[in-house]
Amino acid sequence: MSSFPKSEPSGKPNIVDGVYNWADERLGLTEVVALATHKQVPQHKHSFWYYWGGISLLCFIVQLLTGVLLLVYYRPGKEAYESVRQITYDVDFGWLIRSAHSWSANLMVFAVFVHMFSVFFMKAYKKPREFGWWTGLGLLGLVMLFGFSGYLLPMDELSYFATKVGLQLPSMLPGVGAIVNNVVRGGPSVGENTVQRFFALHVVVLPLLFMPLLGFHLLLVQKHGNAVPEGEAAKPLSQRRSVPFFPNFFAMDLAMWLIALNVITILATLFPWDLGQPANALASAPIGIHPEWYFMSQFQLLKGMGLVLPGMMGEVVGMGLFTAVLLFWAVIPLFDSETVAGKRARIATWTGYLVVTGMLALTIWGYAAL
């Protein structure tokens, strides 16, 4: 790798090389460098999708930084609303930090979904990448929880009612539903205790779970490299191309990150996040209340099933359907294993199409039915 520091100093004494060698003899940096640079990224017409994991990571970093900044002024519990009001309308550029955090949250969920579906359709869950798939699903779940817990923290009307509606989901769990909800809420209804708990979840618990899992996920990607779609894998070697991850693809990745950062800036600056009225437990739910867009498909599934099937049956069947799809999704690497382009492979791909279409349709239907 020509652009990296060499192990032996060149003719002229170079302080950077000297420091590098000193550290290398003690930390084994050369091995780390080798791990970082051995990877090559295949270049083909679907290479565009390789960026989306990185974009998700950028969004997470933005969330981390803006989140810590918000932490400087946010007060959970009784003063939650007032502290967010101060951040949005009082503190210099508070509106910008908060809007960046909210927009980047939405973009992160979007990016993670795009990333997951592109991995699915490229069948990059096959051996040896099964653990990558499972850790990825774990990360997706944590991201949804991040979104759900963060949404309540401003304690305005929208947060309050969206959380109430969203908590319908765990209440559906057979047997333990009500107990789980009581523990999650810190009481019989959403209130101060809930904010405090969601805050602890959002700021401490979820990051502690997310970051090691993410580290493991990235290590696996580094170890196994990028998968190629079947069409590309079938081509003769002479027709296939790749670029070194470092420095070529890294430069392109960085450019993508800057574009994503720019999109976040434009959204946060031109469409800043507002603050509604403070949450009022005695007020009736606003007409058309609904959870954030990434929960809409589940929300509408339950609602739709409730229309078709009588009583509790609707919700139970809806939850069951949802759980079944989730389970199948999780075990897909075991289902669609080695055999290339076989029957199972086709079933997997078509299930994927069904899921994507279904989620999109349910989300659109959900909004239309508001």
Binding site: Q43, F48, T88, Y89, D90, V91, D92, F93, W95, L96, R241, V243, P247, N248, A251, M252, L254, A255, L258, I259, L261, N262, T265, I266, T269, L270, P272
Partner: protein, 529 residues
Amino acid sequence: MNYPVWDVPFLGSGWVVGIIAIFHVMISHFAVGGGFYLILAERKARRENRADWLEIIRRHSHFFLILTAAFGTVSGVGIWFSIGLASPQSTSALIHNFVFGWAMEWCFFLVEIATILVYYSTWDRVDAKTHMRIGWLYAWTSFGTLAIINGILTFMLTPGKAWLAVAGTGREASEFWAALFNPTYWPSLVLRTLICFALAGVWALVTASRIDGFTKPALKTEVIRWSARWLLPSFILIPPALAWYLYAVPETSRQLLQLGVGTIGSGMFTQVARAALVTTMSSATILAVVYFLAWKNPKDFGLGHAIAVVFLALAATGATEHAREMIRKPYTINQYMYSNGLRKSEIAHVNQVGFTTASLWVSGNPGEAMFRGQCMNCHTIDGYRAMRQLLHGRDHAAIARLLNILHTVPADSPYKNYMPPLSGTPEEIAALNDYLGSLVGAAAGANDVLAAKGKTVFDANACSACHGDGGTGGPLAPALTGVGTRLPGDKLAAFLAKPSDKAVAGGMPAPKLADDDMKALLAYLNSLK
């Protein structure tokens, strides 16, 4: 006022102009910078005897021709149509002042379009020397069009003392050159020229990205890198040029930059600060993306990448042009004509005779006419800068206080740097209050400051004890809504001085009030509908 109002729901007439204009800037600045790009690229190719380069340049000139001659022209004319509809008074003022300038501009345009058509169609059909002469003619003519329109645009922000001295006298054209080469002319020309060169590079990357990096790696690398370099001098020189521009801009305009810092609360004019942030960020991203994608990986630079860069340039351009428009508020021609077409010099007259009287065109009831004539240039009802949102939750008294600030323009008015003064008679302003109140369902109550005081008198004298809160009536006394119609003119005052026997029998006192308080109470009672 003197023209019908162009009512564009949701978007507002201003944004119709804005969208067309931003699109036009993306293309017209490419037309100027790209003209120099073509001729300099052709010169380089011919000097180095590079037939492969010439082929790329020919392809680029085809793309250039279609984009600039077709879309550039149409969008330019689009600006004419939209400004004439959105702001006819300002357009009229500009035409009267710069008709000679626009005549020059159209001459330049004609030559410009003719030359680019000839340039493309005579490729390989005339000798190299002639072809390059045509190219140079195009480039300089195109620059000429920029030089003139830049004068008119910058005039709007800084007309200059000389012109302002003759404004409104009928002798404005005597200061034509001073108006054209006004205080912000030169910094703006430098800035725009730099932007032209940068955009030339951005659009050139589109053509260059379509070279197949697999079969022609060396050519692609060369062309991409040569095109990417067009962004560099601009990027380095734009910050000092921008500083020069901001220095030349009026102080009040510069102050508008600071308004977006503390809050984005409703009603604060935060556009300029926010647009500035987008411009800075997008410009930096353009350079970084071009460096990391185009410069470092030229063979892999695809059309998708190039289009991403174009969109970033669009974001930067849009934000900058929007900010430029916003710092001129509340004027379309600084210190002379406000955004709603009213001249600064006629405000006193309009206040005296009334806005509806002074206007040649009015539609709707007086309140609605006031809104349409004076507010709709910048506000919509439900869309951009929505009145419904901005006045949400206010009652008539609060609206009255706001309109009073806009009308009297006290020194500490938060609006005076970006909103024109509200002109009209007190009756017209009250009518406007009614209209605006009807938009937000304002609580019934005091219709002006005097009536607001009257409400306190009403409450302080326990009138509400029998007549109900807000005069809605109760078991002991009738409702007072509409009492101004039942006892018009002096009859209400007379009644209060000596109530009817029936009223006295029911317990109605004759309120003993100071003159001021009585006047206020009467205003309040008359406002109850």
